[in-house]
């Protein structure tokens, strides 16, 4: 009695590969398993395929980045994607700041000068008004003794200056 066809023909390399990686479904896997038990040639090929496959994986996994490569990659990504104080941005910001700040400071200075001038002139006019009154000495006195003297003068001096 002859064996079924699938037991007579050799298994394809890709099928052996699938068998090794356990990718065949239950029925296909059982057929492959039975064939391998009876076929020395396919068994040998399956073994060699397994060895080649392992070598391929070893070769592939051996490729690892060096530390210097990792650092260079980090540096490049950081330079491109990490937000930081960019000196060019700062320069641009300071330029616009100067553009607005300088006139603002000048304006403030002018306002201050005007205010100061007005205060001085107000003080002067107050002093000139005071000089026309009898109370001038009283207002101008800062020491207690002077104040008392001015009060005495006010009390005992004639009414009009």
């Amino acid at each position: 009695m002859s064996e079924p066809l699938q037991f007579q023909a050799h298994l394809a390399d890709a099928v052996l590969w699938q068998w090794r990686k356990q990718e065949l479904d239950a029925a296909e896997g059982a057929v492959a398993q039975r064939h391998l038990q009876s076929c020395a040639s396919c068994q040998a090929r399956a073994q060699t395929l397994g060895r080649l496959f392992e070598e391929m994986q070893t070769l592939h996994q051996a490729v690892q980045p060096a530390l210097a490569e990792r650092m260079r990659l980090l540096g490049r990504l950081e330079a491109r994607f990490t937000p930081r104080a960019n000196p060019r941005v700062l320069v641009a910001a300071s330029r616009s700041l100067v553009r607005w700040l300088a006139p603002a400071i000048a304006l403030l200075a002018v306002v201050f000068m005007l205010w100061r001038e007005e205060t001085v002139s107000a003080k002067n006019s107050l002093e000139s008004l005071l000089s026309q009154t009898r109370e001038e000495q009283l207002f101008m006195s800062s020491e207690e003794e002077d104040v008392q003297q001015a009060l005495m003068e006010l009390a005992f001096s004639p009414e009009e200056k």
Partner: protein, 196 residues
């Protein structure tokens, strides 16, 4: 209510991933460090296997720049690592196309994969294989695979992604992934016939 251990772990990973994505979006140094530590080895391996050369540092950097540019649009429809694999594979495809074009216009500039394409028959005739020699042949055989096959072998057999994840990363239907991978393995085994 206490969550099972595996669920707690998954939840913790998801939270960590959410934080990582948020950090990367904000350009935080710590997040970038974690992203690099976690994914640079895989991206590097994919690039090396796809391009057939170790001179891929700039390419890996470009992949990460793409990742960070696109991470704002990442909606979590697939796992972050699958999404990253997808970007790496796409970038390698573009690079291979660029190299092919460059090679077409300039006979001087041969792409790395072409340089390493030494016909297997012309190599050492020694039947006694040493590990180094076997690795050399494996590398050559991989480089001779068409990129559309190579990327599937890399993702499934070397990186260990599931068929579903390979489909997501490569943007190909899962059924097509299965049939194409079958062909890829058959071709690869054919190229290594002398050892089988």
């Amino acid at each position: 209510m206490k969550m099972p251990e595996s669920e707690t772990q998954t939840a913790r990973q998801e939270i960590a991933e959410v934080d990582l994505i948020a950090g990367c979006r904000a350009g935080e140094r710590e997040a970038l460090e974690v992203l690099i530590k976690k994914y640079q080895p895989a991206v590097l391996r994919v690039c090396v296997s796809m391009l057939g050369s170790r001179e891929v540092e700039d390419l890996v950097q470009d992949v990460f720049i793409k990742i960070l540019k696109k991470i704002r649009g990442f909606e979590g429809r697939s796992a972050l690592f699958t999404w990253i694999y997808g970007i790496a594979v796409n970038h390698c495809r573009d690079e291979l196309r660029r190299r092919k074009r460059r090679c077409w216009f300039s006979l001087q500039a041969l792409p790395a994969e072409t340089v390493e394409q030494i016909p297997l028959e012309e190599a050492s005739a020694s039947e006694q294989m040493e590990s180094a020699e076997l690795r050399h042949y494996l590398r050559v055989a991989m480089n001779q695979l068409e990129p559309r096959y190579r990327e599937l072998v890399v993702l499934r057999d070397l990186e260990g992604l599931s068929y579903e994840e390979v489909a997501q990363a490569s943007g190909i239907d899962e059924k097509l992934v299965k049939s194409r991978l079958y062909q890829a393995r058959q071709i690869l085994a054919e190229k290594l016939k002398r050892y089988l």
